[in-house]
Amino acid sequence: MAELKIDNVYKSFGEEHILKGISLDVTDGEFIILVGPSGCGKSTLLNCIAGLEDVTTGDILLGDTNVTYEAPKDRDIAMVFQSYALYPNMNVRKNIAFGLEIRKMPKAEIAEEVARVAKLLQIEPLLDRKPSQLSGGQRQRVAMGRALARRPKIYLFDEPLSNLDAKLRVEMRTEMKKLHQRLGTTIVYVTHDQIEAMTLADRIAVMKGGIVQQFGTPQEVYDDPANMFVAGFMGSPSMNFLRCEVTKQEKDYAVQIESQGTIFQLPVDPKQADLSSYVGKTVVLGIRPEQITHVMPHLVAEQYITQVPVKIEVTEPTGADTLILARINDQECECRVHPQEAGKVGESMELLFNMSKAVFFDEQTEARL
């Protein structure tokens, strides 16, 4: 149990600059999720925290101690590797017990701990097998077990559930959450799964190109993205980006959209953005698919809701909702409607654009306005 402070960490492999000034303050017991596109440096950052890679410059503090120059074995960190990294010469039981044996835990306690972890991860029947005799998902659970058997100051998880089937994944996700609530250990967790990120995290760090783009609670990152990258990366299906012109209305501003030859003005909530200096210019409107819905009578009259007829180009039923691809300003725009309300491809359909959560970005810099 400890807080983790990553202070302006740079990491280069030769001329290859991977981490470019990462700073994160993680409080004791927090569950941090790292997300970002493949190759953005997430695993490298975990390796730096664990001490498996030396940072080029910057400091890493664990609790009150600066561990930047400490060996991995002295940092008291447990990690689940993306590649599992099971010991090939040991069976599952030994793999899990190894760290405990090294730390001189009594034999009986080790056996107890192994049994507990094996039950939690549903790998009891596999305890006597060698890693080479396991499937990918089973190896991944053993790798988890090896970490969970210990009580370190910090857990680092590098995509620990990526290879499990959908059902087991949901179960394990819940187990992770329970485990964290029970132990209260600080966790840094890498995932590509949006749902995992949103459900598990206390705070999410969105990385791109070795830089943290935004570090905030799931809701902040979702509703209040720092730039177009974060907005597009978080959420599935992802946010629609529509280039449109800003116009001045009586006292507020609006963005102008065109659908089936007709022009509509979508009013801009001044709480969301001040577009006074952009009148007549183009901005990028960011609006999530769930903000564009079928017509619900009780919503029609609301201030920031506009009814727009669109032409349906593609429909994608997902079960709970149907996604509709429409053409707005000659750009594609995804909308989420109730399956029963969805029209057919080629037909026209009335949709409600809810601007109360819309966000705006500069066309060139992609920064939030």
Binding site: A71, K73, Y87, F98, R146
Partner: protein, 295 residues
Amino acid sequence: MLASRKKGIDYWLPKLVVSPTLVIALVFFYGFVLWTTFISFTNSSFLPSYELVGFDQYVRLFMNPRWLNAMWNLVVFGVLFIGICMVVGLVMAILLDQNIRAEGAIRTIYLYPMALSFIVTGTVWKWLLNPTVGIEKFVISLGWDSFVFDWIIDPDMAIYTVVIAGVWQASGFVMAIFLAGLRGIDTSIIKAAQLDGANLFAVYTRIIIPSMRPVFFSAFIMLAHIAIKSFDLVIALTGGGPGNSTDVPAIFMYQFSFQRGQLGIGAASAVIMLMTVLAILVPYLYSELRTPKNG
């Protein structure tokens, strides 16, 4: 038509190309193995004879103190040679594995002895170990007058000089095998062990070395058959002497077959050597071929 003729050539050409080799191998290798085995059951002396005498030659062989001495030398040489080569090779491989500078150059230097023939190695070491021109002379010339290093002329110690020369020649090769094995291990396994709290020593003894078992086995097999067949090294280094003190089975076989006109005993000793090699090789091949490789 063209296609089927082309297929015909494709089918026959490889067989045609390997067939001379196959015939040669069959006749000169397996054929002579069978012939030698047959001779070992006859009363052949200077010239092959075809009169069967059962196991007489084997009995005479094992009554011969020179043979027993040669066998004992093989045991001493084999155990020390294999053991020391493995340890030295492993230590060098582990040291080289620590990402040291100029690794490529060092690796080449250690590997070079393997490129020499055992005759060259034997001759060079014969000079080095010769008390009147080699190491002993050199150390004395440095001023340590009482220094003595005359194993090569000491019947009790001469076999160890064969070990020294053999180790010098083969350990670089063993190192290369082990290094390849070490490099084949996923580095994240080592990282995981470090996070589990293991120091470098534990990482090697508990994880890396145990998971290199197949590599050890290969190295052992190769060294074992070098040891059993050791002939040229001993001939070049000591010629089997002083006296018969560094006799090994291969020399015994050569001398009895071709110099002393006792073809029957020679053949019997050759068969025993073949059996020894097979005794090591067959379980190895069996275990290797039977279990499919799994990573």
